[in-house]
Amino acid sequence: MLNYVIKRIISMIITLLIIVTITFILMHLVPGGPFTDSERALSPAVEQALMEKYKLNDPIWKQYLEYIKGIIRFDLGPSYAYTGRNVTDLIKNGFPVTAKLAVISFVLILIIGVPLGVTSALQHNKFMDRLIMVFSTLGVTIPKFVIATLLLFLFAYKLKWFPIFGAESLKSYILPAIANALASIAYITRLNRSSMLEVLEQDYIRTARAKGVKGYKIVYKHALKNATIPTVTVLGTQMVTLLSGSFIIEKIFALPGIGRYFVQSVSNRDYPTIMGVTIFFSFMLLLMTLIVDIAYGYLDPRVRIQKTSKGDK
């Protein structure tokens, strides 16, 4: 087990290093420099001084090495767009908000998606099932920014149930989390429904039924655990969807998270922030996959961890 984790961590580091390199190259292909202002041209001397200050006059390979050296010390460099702030600070400042948003969305997915899916499967082909299916199909058909705007308009502006912007209280997170999670809820509902249906047809469930085990007992004791296995495997990727979806949500609800740097850093040509955000999100993704793989091993004893470590998942 420990061996496996260590192996995975080493491969994670190599992966990250490769991502850093690719992003670094791509970033420098983007036209326009970090210090071109939108309306006012900068005097060449000032631009030169700024380039000097941020060591952008060094050859690219040297900048790259410096950057790698920085990462090893957990220093992601200074932001070009926010004078005097380090990228590490930006992430440290924004992450609690983004994480809170993601976790609440995650909880919503679990407490809404799983029960709905199970209910739908148990009520197979009845009215309830149809209703849930319609809802969950609709959930994936509207773009996130439209959902977010609609929710804001209806529940915060018209009905005044929630604050319109900011991250002052937990209440502020509810609407953004719903907007963020809706598509994932729909997806998990459908996934749970189909895996539950599959499980309910298995021999051991029939055996249990034949032996006279009560309905709810079958569901909770026998079916549920096995039916949630597929859910666990996709939770990792759903978490990533939630994290990256946070850009839209954070912008519309004016939450001070890190999602905003997704676009802002590219349009500012804020190289260190682009790198920082990429590394951070990649790291989160890799971490999630690792956790899911370990959790999967516990949930489903058939899956031998050593086997999943190979390429042929």
Binding site: L16, L197, T289
Partner: protein
């Protein structure tokens, strides 16, 4: 089991067989025709009403997208700045005793209209008194005062009598209303269908090509090459792809072509994995071995034998990629990196309408509906395909 020698040793009684009639012919069982895999798929697919509906919807939308612009009296870029932001539902006021009807836009623009809701003419204000919040307009020689101290405003005749709304009618000139530059929203949505669908199809095609090549090669060659290629996919999967889409869009510049290509190029990973998985499991089958024995080359085996058999799941993924691309394009529009103006995809139309949701909700409603219906249709189609391709998954 008996071996040959033992078989030969069995002594069969000679009356165990009859000789066949010379005229006897084999007759195939007509009641049970044999079905190929695809026929079988089609049979199952037909039974799924939702997927058939999906296909019909997609077909209709495609037809409208292709031929709609040819029929419409407007073009997608035609502006009439006198007719900006006119909603699809009009309040008409009846003026005087004759059949004169006017529509008053909430930004105080007055139009004469037929009773059925076809707008005739824009009538500029005679006077707008900003301080007393009263506007005067002359229609057919009749002087009308609009008092906007009231919210919503009230309309009075020159004698000071209030005129109430005569009736609500649907806008016959612009069925979906107009946008902020006085362009017909219906034709914009139809034209948007072109853009969104092209982006969907093209990016799905790019995705398919790259995915099949990559996954096919990886799965077929196997071994170290496979390991390496899959490692690469794993690494790329850990990159925040949205960020890469944005970077690519900034490098290549915006426009329909770049959007379609970028989305296709960034989202092929899933396809590659599916194709590889299929090829990996199929290549151990006897028919591939047989093909190899006859001396078929790698490419021939890949293209003639492996891919057609792996087509099922690939098709499902490719279908689902289309709504994904439409969504991603909508996201890019939200960021401001979408197609070039005055072209507009559904995403652009939605994004343009977002800020006006309080005043002109119809501008958001129609393109959002269009996206919803299309994505829904593709979802139905994808579900149907998956179910009929793999009956085990059918629920």
């Amino acid at each position: 089991m008996l071996n040959d020698r033992q078989l030969n040793q069995i002594d069969f009684p000679s009356d165990s067989w009859d000789e066949l009639d010379k005229d006897f012919q084999f007759v195939e069982d007509e009641d049970l025709p044999t079905m190929t895999y695809w026929q079988d798929v089609w049979r199952r697919f037909k039974q799924n009403k939702l997927s058939i509906m999906g296909v019909i919807i997609i077909f209709l939308i495609t037809i409208i997208a292709i031929f709609g612009p040819l029929i419409s009296p407007y073009t997608y870029s035609h502006q009439d700045l006198n007719y900006t932001a006119i909603p699809p539902l009009l309040n008409l006021w009846k003026i005087g005793n004759e059949d004169t009807y006017i529509y008053i836009h909430k930004s105080l623009r007055i139009y004469t209209s037929t009773v059925k809701g076809r707008l005739i003419e824009y009538i500029p204000l005679q006077k707008n008194d900003l301080i007393n919040k009263k506007a005067i307009v002359v229609v057919n020689g009749e002087e009308i005062t609009i008092d906007y101290n009231f919210k919503p405003f009230k309309v009075f005749t020159h004698t000071g009598k209030e005129i109430s709304i005569f009736k609500k009618v649907y806008n016959k000139s612009f069925i979906f209303g107009t946008d902020d530059l006085g362009r017909d929203l219906l034709i914009r949505v139809i034209y948007g269908a072109r853009i969104s669908l092209i982006i969907g199809f093209v990016s799905s095609l790019v995705n398919l090509t790259v995915g099949i090549l990559y996954g096919g090669i990886s799965g077929y060659l196997g071994g170290n090459i496979d390991n390496f290629l899959m490692r690469v996919v794993d690494i790329m999967r850990s990159i925040p792809r949205l960020l890469y889409v944005i970077i690519f869009m900034v490098i290549f510049g915006s426009g329909m072509k770049t959007v379609a290509l970028t989305i296709g190029l960034v989202y092929w990973l899933n396809m590659a994995r599916i194709v590889r998985g299929q090829v990996l499991s199929l290549k151990e089958h006897e028919f591939i071995l047989a093909a190899k024995t006859i001396g078929a080359g790698t490419w021939r085996i890949l293209i003639r034998h492996l891919l057609p058999n792996a087509m099922g799941p690939i098709l499902v993924v490719a279908t689902m990629q289309i709504p994904n691309a439409i969504f991603t394009e909508a996201f890019l529009s939200f960021v401001g990196l979408g197609v070039s103006a005055p072209q507009a995809s559904w995403g652009t139309l939605c994004n343009d309408a977002l800020a006006g949701i309080g005043t002109n909700p119809y501008q958001l409603f129609f393109p959002a509906m269009a996206i919803s219906i299309t994505v829904l249709a593709f979802n139905f189609l994808g579900d149907g395909l998956r179910d009929s391709l793999d009956p085990r998954l059918r629920k």
